[in-house]
Symmetry: C2
Subunit: 182 residues, 2 copies
């Protein structure tokens, strides 16, 4: 049977982009903003003075983001049963294109270039599943959607919530069981 397809986002899903915001903001402004301060607030507004927008255009930002805990093992596990695509909205920040490609090569070397998609909006991505932190991406997805918890999305309840990679794997393995039972 043909494997089902999953689109997995990068920022705040396999990359801990908020950790990088916090580290860089503290480095530049001497103030540590805690994750809880970001709850229910768009990221761009959570850090004062347009700091995030500046970071997003700074060479090296995307290349040095830490990996989201558990993401590497989880993605490898999922790849045994699903066709996994990394789908990242990289086109808004063109300098991120090569940085994201190199970052994937360093941290997810088991993902082929064939399975990487850098896009603008994600509305034409036709996978069976999508894991993303942004509701705008999930809302246009025709497949099953999982919202990966990030401060900015904690009030959203119209997509299945996942809080960490263990939950993602558990839910998708359950999908696989259901499919086999059908």
């Amino acid at each position: 049977m043909k494997k089902k397809t999953i689109a997995i986002d990068m920022d705040n899903v396999i990359a801990d982009t908020v950790a990088q915001y916090i580290t860089w903001y503290e480095r530049d402004h001497g103030v540590r903003i805690e994750r809880t301060a970001l709850h229910g607030i768009p990221e761009l507004e959570a850090f004062p003075g347009g700091a995030i927008r500046k970071f997003l255009y700074t060479p090296g930002f995307f290349r040095t983001v830490p990996v989201m805990p558990g993401a590497q093992d989880a993605v490898q596990q999922l790849m045994e049963h699903f066709e996994v695509y990394i789908v990242s909205a990289a086109l808004e920040f063109p300098q991120s294109l090569i940085e994201k490609y190199e970052w994937l090569g360093e941290h997810f070397p088991f993902i082929s270039w064939r399975n990487i998609i850098f896009c603008g909006d994600k509305s034409i991505i036709g996978t069976d599943y999508m894991i993303d932190d942004h509701v705008k991406n999930l809302d246009t997805c025709k497949g099953k959607t999982f919202i990966y918890t990030a401060g900015h999305n904690i009030h959203i309840d119209r997509h299945t919530r996942v809080n960490d990679w263990k939950e993602v794997v558990a839910l998708l393995m359950k999908e696989l069981q259901n499919e086999k039972a059908d």
Copy 2:
């Protein structure tokens, strides 16, 4: 009514990549290979000595490819009636990512970054129409497919053939009429 979506390929569709192969090959080897010599042959084999593969990895190759005649006007015309996405298999040649982005900015400045997709394989692209020269991309498309004539694809008959941008526009405008009539 929501506009229907079209995925348009870059190389050999809006970019005259074969023209660039011919120019660069003549520049480097002093031999002009005519387009007719490419009929029915995979591009990589049509130019001796692995020349094409070398070109594809050379900085500047993708940045300086000529525009396919008629593509600019045609894409603008189509954008009035369709949601147009440029979908290019850029991930095999990572240096092409930024070059292709800049090339689009120069020659197709009316296309938003939201409508650009750089991918590996195109099997998860879920548009209503796809225009491509490569049968491997068209074969996995669930929408209506148009094969843009290139030497390497002249023997393919399982997709609707288009020989130039005038034909593309004519066929898609007919699709629009049929849709309105339904």
